[in-house]
Symmetry: C2
Subunit: 294 residues, 2 copies
């Protein structure tokens, strides 16, 4: 099986797991369970979950054992999107071409569905079929990355700079927290599921943080000069909204150079963390993320 | 030291712990840390934290070791109040006589501060200075109780029945989830911190669930016939809003009888769970909650 096929198989396993991950519970609160599933099962690239599975495999673990942790990170990601879309935040009516959660279920239920997905992520990680020590490490890493010194901190910075230009260091911190923290912890969860030591956990987390940065800069470039037909959305929205991006700060060419440098650094870290051929599919995943056209 | 003095000492220890529990982190996201502290340190009875400490002590544990878990449950409680007060939920401008979080920090920051407190509760529990197995049990119990099959489920029911009468069974489920789940898990966290077995954890959780119900019915009675001066708020708001309560369903006298029955049942369970004198302060705490005038 080549890497593309492996990643497709991963994706199918992830979707299958997520399908049954959120049980209804009591009919009295079924609506919130429905809202949770609506957002959790709305598709997306499942990048974070793929990182969990492939990092686990790269360190010699079994992908199936990493599935609950992969589901947990997707729950955290889905919650963050639900809350991001609320009127008091970005006020987005659409998410991946479908009405956002609060447009379908109302604001109150959407707020609670987000809260519930976040909470259920911890329940899922704590209940994973792994040794207790590993489950605890997973919960601790997830909480740290999703918290105010991680992903939420990134959202706070994003809000604070909504209408003013960002210094380069601020933009770097923003991306490290908003995208990097969750991608980094995805890789760490994979290492944990494989039963790897904390040194391997850190090394893979470090690798994924660089991938996250490359991914984010690639995103900025696509928004500036991407192919609207392939992207499925209009380009130029960042510039229109006066948003600071790598492209507005450094221009397209220098940004492309940064993507390359960042990717090289990431792949180099990967090779040190995972000797031999075992990191092949991770390297493939990383390349596909930065080379993408949509 | 008598029980009243012991509980006062507990309260001081809890407040002192909470004061420094949420560090600033990077100045770039200091605002959300401030908003978290604003709500976490806004006072309140700290009933849940007291249950953690006293259940730990009743089972022979050291109260100091239970403090991080007590802080975690107060973080969950504070987050739920912040989100409850948001305009899309209860739209309350005041909380304990002070402007609610979103009135001070804006809706977006308040939303994120709630998210961050919930996440930080898990970080705090996972990092408690207890054996790994106990920390994992604490996280799992907390996630279950705070999730959509616990506290959030209660809020969903509350919303669904906002403008229509509630059947008695629905009201019972509502209280079991909305108040009971968090009080029950507080007692369970105390048992966990004491290193008690799962049987003791369940028994104390069961006891606290009954206390929660008695507390809630007492609340309904106070809203109907309490002393406005002592309560510090007008009475009759439940009836005015057409809310279903134990008083609207059964009347004041039958509700008082239910408080007594519930309390007796709770104290009986306590005695079975904690033999001898060790549960004295827990019984005192339980009585003070149901006999209160405000």
């Amino acid at each position: 099986m080549n890497c593309r096929e492996q990643l497709e198989r991963d994706l199918a396993a992830i979707e299958a797991f997520l399908q049954t991950a959120v049980p209804d519970g009591d009919p009295l609160y079924r609506e919130v369970a429905e809202a949770m599933r609506y957002s959790l099962l709305a598709g997306g690239k499942r990048i974070r979950a793929l990182f969990v599975l492939e990092c686990c495999a790269a360190l010699g673990g079994r992908r199936e054992e990493a599935l609950p942790l992969a589901a947990a990170i997707e729950m955290v990601h889905a919650y963050s999107l639900i809350h991001d879309d609320l009127p008091c935040m970005d006020d987005d009516d659409l998410r991946r071409g479908k009405p956002s959660c609060h447009k379908v279920y109302g604001e109150a239920t959407a707020l609670l569905a987000g809260d519930a997905l976040l909470t259920f992520a911890f329940e899922t990680a704590a209940g994973a079929p792994l040794p207790e020590e590993l489950r605890l490490r997973a919960v601790a890493a997830l909480a740290r990355a999703a918290g105010y010194r991680g992903m939420i901190g990134g959202q706070v910075i994003d809000l604070a700079y909504e209408n003013r230009p960002m210094e380069p260091e601020v933009l770097a911190t923003l991306h490290r927290l908003k995208t990097g923290a969750l991608l980094s912890v995805s890789a760490q969860l994979g290492a944990i599921a494989a039963g790897a030591g904390e040194d391997s956990q850190c090394a893979l987390g470090d690798f994924a943080e660089d991938v996250g940065l490359a991914f984010q800069i690639a995103d900025d470039i696509l928004d500036a000069v991407g192919d609207e037909a392939k992207l499925g959305k209009p380009i130029g929205s960042d510039a229109e909204q006066g948003k600071t991006t790598f492209v507005t700060l450094y221009g397209v060419e220098a940004s492309r150079e940064q993507v390359r440098a960042c990717t090289d650094r990431a792949l180099c870290k990967l090779q040190r963390a995972v000797p031999g051929e075992q990191g092949g599919c991770l390297a493939h995943l990383c390349q596909s993320l930065v080379d993408r056209e949509s």
